[in-house]
Amino acid sequence: MMKTDKIKLNGAQLAVFNSRFEGVVRKMSNTLFRTGRSGVLNRARDFSCCIVTKDCDLLAAAESLPIHVLSGPDMMSKAMHEFHPDLKSGDAYINNSPYHGCSHAADQTILIPVIEDGKHHFTVLAKAHQADIGNSVPTTYYGAARDVYEEGALIFPAMKIQHNYQDIDDIIRMCKMRIRVPEQWYGDYLAALGSARIGEREIIEMGREFGWDTLHAFADQWFDYSEKLMSVSLSVLPKGKIIGTSTHDPFPGTPDTGVPINVRIEIKPEEGVVEVDLTDNMDSLPFGLNLSEACARTSAMVGIFNSIDHTTPKNSGSFRRIKIKLRKGCIVGIPEMPTSCSVATTNIADRVANAVQCAIAELQDGFGMAEVGAVLAPSSSVISGKDYRNGNDYVNQVFLGFTAGAASATQDAWLTVGHVGNAGLCYQDSVELDELYMPLHVYERRIIPDTEGAGKYRGAPSYYCEFGPIGGSFEVGYVSDGNINGPKGVRGGQTGGNSDQLIRRLNNSVEKLPACAQVTVQENERIISISTGGGGYGDPMQRDPERVLSDYLNGYITKERSKTTYGVVITEENEIDNYETAHIRSE
């Protein structure tokens, strides 16, 4: 047999193999998207697929949700190997354990080892956010959970769910007993399984076409190449030590001042290395927002990758250049049972990533980013109830609208980013699809003018969404950060709009709701959700006046704000008054 280190692939071959593997992941993703049953999968696309090597190194993740995949698939596969040393063709495993590499319990992951002639070559993973995972309340984001017992999620620490391509019915039966709307869960399980089986099928074809040794040689060389590029990308950053901070709003179970997150970053451009130390943070809290180890590592990486050349590959090769220091029992470290990580992918994780990218921005102009807005406003809540039209129970996360994008050093925000760990990959619900599939009505959705994080490059404006149940009541569960600590700007950029949540009663009066809650909304009452904007980068007075005018014409800002915040005067005919503008800006 040929040794893999004897096979040398040239640059063109590396490119083709990389595309082939990425293509496999895209095909897996497409399968999951098109076959999923719950809206969180088939409308919002809240899932990720990836491939790891036989040594559990992340090889290809195509365009997966960053918080889902950068770190975690490696640990989940290791757990599979540890508990099942004898992997067989036809096996499939389920892992959603935040103590075994998964992000949070809702991100149920199917792992399939790719095996030919009894040899294990790669592992394919399909991670899909469930509409329900059996929590004690109908939400997959149980922010107030004291611990994993109160959280109530079913936890699968890398268990076998298929043998010889057949379901192990004991597990399926238990899930159908404990998870709400079991047909929906089973359909989603099938979708993830199909996606992983597609990946398995495609990789086996590649193995037969090119030879397994060649594929393994590719992985080794691709990692080396990626590491080299990562080192180059880091070498242009300014050298230095910095501390970044970002504060999560107070929630049940936190101090009244909220949860401050501190990151210590040391950039060593001459070595092509960056170190992120997350140990100087409080211990895990009795709530559901503690990070899993996967999310702690990944959120730090997201902040780094947001701050460097975007063409740098994201895989285990480039990750060798990021050293992350974690502490056991820390809120942003390695959680120990029974710490709850129910909401690990968003709130606190976003604070970590934001702290990293803002710190790098403040270190030197041209790098880093402003703060991306916070989640999860009620427009992204989990909704449950009984559909009066057919008598069926339903539970599902809606994605009725979010913006939150932050400005970068060279460009305005991508509007629909959602949150920093998501990067805008999730889709947003169509009003028509939501109204068709759930007994709800969407009254209004619009961006809110003058809430953008002003700057030379501007952040996203806040988003307004008003919706409510029809033909009966429903329950909404949400965990909305950013009401007090809005998305900060950097280098003179301003803070974007804060979040808020209200309820419109039947008499049309409007009341404020708590930030982290499970709320019953009566028939024809309406939830008003205001999601955060995003931070700006640089001084708004330096913003290109043409962009300011365009923002006015596109409804982002009013003429008044154009003048006061950006110093740009727009005439009655919607043209820039150059004279007045120059005058204001020179003051």
């Binding site: 490119a15 083709v16 595309s19 293509g23 399968t31 998207f33 098109r34 076959t35 999923g36 049953r37 809206g39 409308r43 919002a44 365009e63 949700l65 960053p66 359909g187 099938l190 399984l193 199909g194 996606s195 089986r197 597609i198 099928r201 947001n306 975007h310 980013m369 994008g405 970068s408 050093a409 060279t410 460009q411 305005d412 991508w414 509007l415 629909t416 959602g418 990067a423 805008g424 990959l425 999730c426 947003q428 169509s430 009003v431 028509e432 699809l433 109204e435 068709l436 599939y437 009254y443 209004e444 959705r445 619009r446 961006i447 988003y463 008003e466 365009s550 014409l553 596109n554 409804g555």
Partner: protein, 690 residues
């Protein structure tokens, strides 16, 4: 007699198919300000060739097929109509928020796209219909009239209307149209439920807005084309190529011009694949079409024309979704007219800017001072100044030399030949990368594929592109210079009719499903009677888009019958769905029922008498063989044989260097390559020798 004319940025290509099936190619320069003129000029050339008047010539034709880039050019250059968007009150940001989604999650240098219609031209209309089609809030007609007055004030030229749930109940959209027609006559309107009756408000709104914004100019363009053709004597039918690679009646297209967005390049893959398969059963065919302005590439695998199910203008997520499928062709700004320039830092660029038809390359002598790829070819000896387009056009090599010397050679401090070669080399690299993008993206190894060189300028560097890609064969079809027009003559007249009728296999209503299918059939038959009256053969294919309960994306399943005859047909439909789901997605939910949502019938009328195309008629044997000095970087100046393609013995292998000439194209073959002429009239080149 039929003809097909394809208007490119630089030349208008015409192919005439005579009644005996043989064909002939003609070309005329495109007049960008008046694209109809180029078509008429090319037709005048064809009439002259037949020795009869244009009027008499056109009388003989029963069918004229036209491919045009007019629509996409208008969008790219921002010359579409000033369009207003009317939407349900409370939902003004449908076009801005779109459906979310993004590519390259870590790339923060790409701007978020503006809405296709800005908020300043968006108006919210008080009204609301729910999912069941019930009116929750009646249409406020006074508010509509008020909005119409505001639109008048803003000199709006077209209007798109997309209201929530107009697909369940179109009354409000229809009523708004009536009010617009009354108070704002002569301004074209697109209603979302009529154009693209699909669920999901963004894609319906986007379709409607793009369509409305094209209506004034496409209506005018097609109207003027028809009028001038009729005035010149044409009395047959005018068809226009659609993005889906079929053809539509010009009058239907004027009513839904969104279908013309990919009209230009959508048929080159069909023609390219056809000429490749004449030579050999290739697994993968790269079809490249080099025009004056753009280089269009597509990848045909196992004979399947590549389609994208959701065509975007621009890149996915960064542009605008059209809401319709299209033939998948990638286009970059590179061609014979691509301008070469040296930037402030001393780096050479070729394209994407093109000298176009006006002023054209420097050698045309129409005032163009900037050197183009065509000028470089002249200097390298690849083109003969005395035999450009078969000698029909005079060009001036001195102007090419002057342009390249002053604008490339001197700034870079290199010789004239080196400068010309560098221009050629860089253009080759840009074109190669466009192909690498599509092959690599699909995981195809280009070394195992065949390259088809289409377009008038293909022969100048396709051999080099094939060498860069590692392709073992390059084929230049005899109609290569007008590949899209050739595809147009091969295409079918087709139309798809769709009907939404929900029925689950749990309680399937055979009677009602059969009513839906019968209605689809009668619409197809009407189409055949009207549009397809000259067709030689026609077919109707029935399909249903179905899903498992609570899925939201359907898959297409063939219906092997026109009507359900018994419950067994329902059982077989359900089984067929399970099997298809298993094949595509590796799983099936065999216990589950299947929900049928959208029923479709596609009618195809074959307008072409034969399979493929006839042979090109040649009037003369070309010029006598001689030699000319041409320049290659690796070999320096070499003496190359100049041959007319007709003088080559069929299937005999020749060795480069050579220049193969025909009236419309010149193929340069370097010393390392071999070439032969196949029995099908194609030039087959082996870029790495035998």
């Amino acid at each position: 007699m039929r003809f097909a004319a394809d208007t490119g940025g630089t030349f208008t290509d015409l192919i005439v198919e005579y009644d005996d099936g043989n064909i002939k190619m003609f070309k005329a320069p495109t007049t960008p300000s008046n694209p109809v003129q180029g078509v008429l000029d090319a037709l005048a050339n064809a009439a002259k060739d037949s020795g009869i008047s244009l009027h008499k010539f056109l009388r003989q034709a029963d069918c004229f097929i036209h491919g045009t880039t007019h629509a996409i050019n208008a969008i790219i250059t921002g010359n579409t109509a000033k369009t207003a968007f009317l939407t349900t009150k409370g939902h003004p940001d449908i076009l801005l928020m779109r459906e979310g989604g993004r590519t390259e999650p870590f790339n923060h240098s790409v701007a978020y796209p503006d809405a296709y219609i800005p908020r300043s031209l968006t108006w919210e209309i008080p009204e609301r219909i729910n999912y069941a089609g019930d009116v929750i809030e009646p249409l406020n007609e006074e508010a509509v009239i008020d909005v119409i007055q505001k639109m008048k004030g803003q000199h709006v030229e077209a209007v798109a209307v997309c209201l929530l749930w107009s697909i369940s109940n179109p009354d409000h959209e229809l009523r708004i149209q009536a009010l617009l027609n009354k108070h704002l006559p002569d301004v074209p309107v697109t209603l979302s439920h009529k154009l693209n009756p699909t669920l999901r408000e963004y894609r319906r709104a986007s379709s409607a807005c793009i369509d409305a914004s094209l209506k004034p100019l496409m209506g005018q363009y097609l109207g003027s084309l028809m009028k001038k053709m009729e005035a010149a004597g044409f009395s047959g039918k005018l068809f226009v190529v659609s993005s889906q690679g079929g053809m539509m009646e010009a009058s239907s297209l004027a009513e839904a011009p969104i279908h013309a967005i990919n009209s230009g390049p959508s048929l080159a893959p069909l023609a390219g694949s056809y000429y490749a398969q004449l030579e050999h059963q290739y697994e993968a065919v790269i079809v490249a079409d080099t025009g004056g302005t753009t280089y269009d590439v597509s990848l045909v695998r196992q004979g399947h024309i590549p389609m994208s199910r959701e065509m975007w203008i621009g890149e996915p997520y960064r542009g605008h979704m059209t809401g319709f499928p299209s033939v998948d062709v990638k286009s970059i700004g590179a061609g014979g007219g691509s301008i070469a320039w040296v930037d402030g830092g001393g780096m050479l660029h070729v394209g994407p800017k093109s000298a176009g038809a006006e002023p054209g390359p420097a050698c045309y002598g129409h005032g163009g001072l900037e050197p183009t790829l065509t000028d470089a070819c002249l200097v390298l000896g690849y083109l003969d100044p005395d035999y450009f387009l078969g000698g029909s056009m005079k060009i001036n090599i001195a102007l090419s030399r002057e342009a390249i010397s002053s604008r490339v050679a001197e700034p870079l401090g290199i010789s004239l030949e080196e400068a010309a070669w560098s221009i050629m080399d860089l253009a080759t690299e840009n074109m190669t990368q466009a192909i690498v993008d599509i092959t690599v993206n699909q995981g195809i190894d280009a070394t195992q594929a065949v390259l088809i060189g289409g377009g008038g300028a293909a022969g100048l560097n396709s051999t080099f592109i094939a060498q860069r890609l590692g392709c073992k064969q390059l084929i230049i079809p005899e109609v290569g210079a007008a590949l899209s027009a050739a595809g147009e003559l091969m295409s079918d007249l087709s139309m798809e009719y769709r009907s939404t009728y929900f029925s689950s296999t749990e309680n399937f209503d055979i009677k009602r499903a059969n009513v839906v299918l019968a209605d689809l059939r009668s619409r197809c038959e009407d189409f055949i009677k009207k549009a397809g009256q000259h067709s030689k053969q026609h077919s109707i294919v029935y399909k249903v888009e179905a899903r498992y309960p609570s899925q939201v994306w359907e898959i297409e399943v063939d219906l092997p019958f026109e009507q359900f005859s018994s419950d067994e047909d329902v059982v077989s439909l359900r089984q067929n769905f399970h099997d298809t789901h298993q094949r595509i997605f590796a799983i099936q939910d065999s216990e589950s029922h299947v929900e049928c949502v959208t029923w479709s019938a596609t009618v195809r009328c074959k307008m072409n008498q034969r399979d493929g195309l006839g042979r090109v008629i040649h009037d003369n044997e070309g010029r006598k063989t001689k030699t000319r000095q041409i320049y290659f970087a690796n070999y320096g100046a070499v003496d190359a044989r100049i041959e007319s393609i007709h003088q080559l013995t069929i299937d005999e292998k020749y060795k480069g260097p050579a220049v193969i000439e025909s009236p419309f194209t010149t193929v340069v073959i370097d010393p390392g390559s071999h070439y032969s002429r196949s029995a099908n009239g194609s030039l087959v080149i082996e870029p790495f020798g035998a």
